[in-house]
Symmetry: C2
Subunit: 113 residues, 2 copies
């Protein structure tokens, strides 16, 4: 999940900011379910990519990008995703904050360009 530098279109588009802390238990179960969800997410209409980092202490931050709010809503209501989120709250997450935001401005920098 340590992706970086998703190439997004010109704004506007949607950013879903997910800040989390995992419980210490069942990291393997979490990793397996996360991999399934990531594989499913990239198949969704309107998914643009995800940037994220996670530390060894179980804290992490990911931002996924979506074409529009309809695409986000469809993913949030996806039945397989709903089941995974329920399991996440019951078994894996100590705490999280989810924020949905409309990107209004973006710029990139690369050294030497």
């Amino acid at each position: 999940m340590n992706n970086h530098f998703v190439e997004t279109p010109e704004p506007p588009y949607i950013a879903v900011i997910f800040t989390f802390e995992l419980r210490p238990d069942d990291r393997e179960g979490y990793e397996a379910r996360l991999a399934e969800m990531n594989a499913l997410a990239i198949q969704q209409d309107g998914f643009l990519g995800e940037e994220g980092v996670r530390l060894d202490n179980g804290r992490g931050l990911t931002v996924s990008y979506w074409r529009d709010m309809d695409a986000v809503d469809a993913w949030r209501r996806h039945v397989v995703h709903l089941a995974a989120k329920k399991a996440g709250r019951e078994k894996w997450y100590q705490q999280y904050t989810l924020r949905i935001a409309e990107v209004a401005f973006a710029k990139t920098f690369a050294a030497g360009e």
Copy 2:
């Protein structure tokens, strides 16, 4: 900079999403300048907090939260911050993407609540 779980007001407010990769050189110089900038940022009117993680490989992702776009613009134009950003491009950053987004929805979860 590995803060977590900034308490933000009800939306709308602004999220500044900063995805970056550092060059291997002069990490101490970078850390010192970053600490200065963080100390200055928290003094700015409208700054709500920052969530971020950085990996040992120099890749990282931070999200800072601001009351409104005017607060973001004032910080982006702050003369000390402008000088630090110039130094960042010249010396420390290999690559970055900056996105400014309006948070429309937020929810939190905590296990056991």
